[in-house]
Assembly symmetry: C2
Homo-oligomer: 245 residues x 2
């Protein structure tokens, strides 16, 4: 596995366009405020997330994809803060994640070598991991961050166990997922021509895998959590307080 | 899927022997104190775990399996507190989890209908979930608590993704895992006669599945976390403070 702490030469740095899909609803949190805007240690999660990428000068632009209902606010009262945190464009989301990312992809600079897609609610990703991913995507076409699965997993049908898959090699996927620009563009073209883009596409690399592109993995930290439940928000707050991130 | 909140008739309650394997080392925590004895909100994790089962009067005995090095302490200075929290017996662990559980099984009362095996470091399991598991194991032979997997999972070989298994039906397994006594005894006999007991057996129901016994699942809460890392301990503390458990 490729180590996130490998030393990469900055003069070999690819130019990166970052897409942040933030168009999901917040039903799982049971709150009216969009998840990315919930405060974490006094700062909205999305601004913490953006800050990580603002510090990496390989990232040339950041496209934020928002819900239609949130667009006026993002372009209005929130805009100055978003811009200061590196956002260069706002686009409207679509009916599912993959189509929202596609909308973002349309407005990215065709000159950028790598497209990175990152969850708005993963504020603890490290810059080292991001750089390793950008670099590997540039060299190999596609790179995603993973951590080993620690739970025993079973496949269940109805109320019965039907299989206990071997845990060896089972990895949980995080973001940013990174692709050479033309690989992602071609993967979308291929998906439109074949199965279409369905709601089942829970991560961006699936599209690219279906297209036949090999995807490299980078071992990432379990600290790079996705904040989707109240428990996650509590955990994230404690991780900050305890100085773990 | 069977709901943990189904109403079970207390007069139909099976008698339960509980085995708690606490013989693992604490290397992942990077601490000298055994994980089960780390304080959580001022109370050792193991005592919190025991308290849950002490309140369920279906549980007739609790066998605690400890490391050889910890045995003197468990039988000495810790004994009074363990006893007050429902522990009826201490046994010595073995080279792996499954063999430690087997040691515990040897001393359980043959009259008990159900054997439950619970991680020492899962203090937040609910009594409702436990009762649903005990009842289902009694009726069907084997029952385990599960929660849906929320991450996208990939199978990785070397540094490449080789498969993205469908997330539908993928469940993460928790404890207590519960079995009719004779099912578990026969599953061990079968394992000794065939493949033996290996370190790869990460959950008790695998043994029973290999023996050919159907295993039922009960939908459990994601609150029933296993405290294995410093982050988990921080999370557990926050869940307590926030009144989530």
């Amino acid at each position: 596995m490729i180590d996130a702490h490998m030393d990469f030469n900055d003069d070999m740095a690819p130019e990166v366009s970052l897409i942040i899909p933030a168009a999901g609803d917040s039903t799982r949190m049971g709150m009216t405020k969009r998840k990315p805007w919930l405060p974490l240690g006094g700062v909205p999660i999305i601004l913490r997330t953006l800050s990580v990428f603002k510090e990496i000068d390989w990232v040339k632009e950041i496209v934020l994809v928002v819900n239609e209902q949130d667009e006026a606010e993002a372009r209005g009262p929130q805009w100055e803060e978003l811009r200061r945190h590196g956002v260069t464009m706002i686009v409207t989301g679509a009916e599912n994640r993959a189509m929202s990312v596609f909308n973002g992809l349309q407005v990215t600079d065709p000159a950028a070598e790598v497209i990175a897609i990152h969850d708005a609610v993963r504020p603890f990703v490290s810059a080292d991991t991001c750089k390793a991913l950008f670099r590997t995507a540039s060299k190999r076409g596609a790179a995603i961050p993973v951590t080993p699965v620690t739970d025993t997993i079973k496949r269940v049908e109805g109320d019965k166990v039907i299989d206990t898959p071997q845990r060896v090699g089972m990895m949980a996927v995080q973001t940013p997922q990174c692709f050479r620009r033309e690989v992602l563009v071609e993967a979308y073209e291929y998906a439109f021509k074949t199965d279409g883009i369905s709601d089942n596409i829970t991560d961006d690399s699936s599209l690219v895998e279906q297209y036949g592109q090999e995807v490299s993995v980078i071992l990432s930290s379990s600290d790079n959590i996705k904040i989707t439940t109240k428990e996650d928000l509590v955990l994230a707050g404690s991780m900050l307080k305890a100085g773990l991130v």
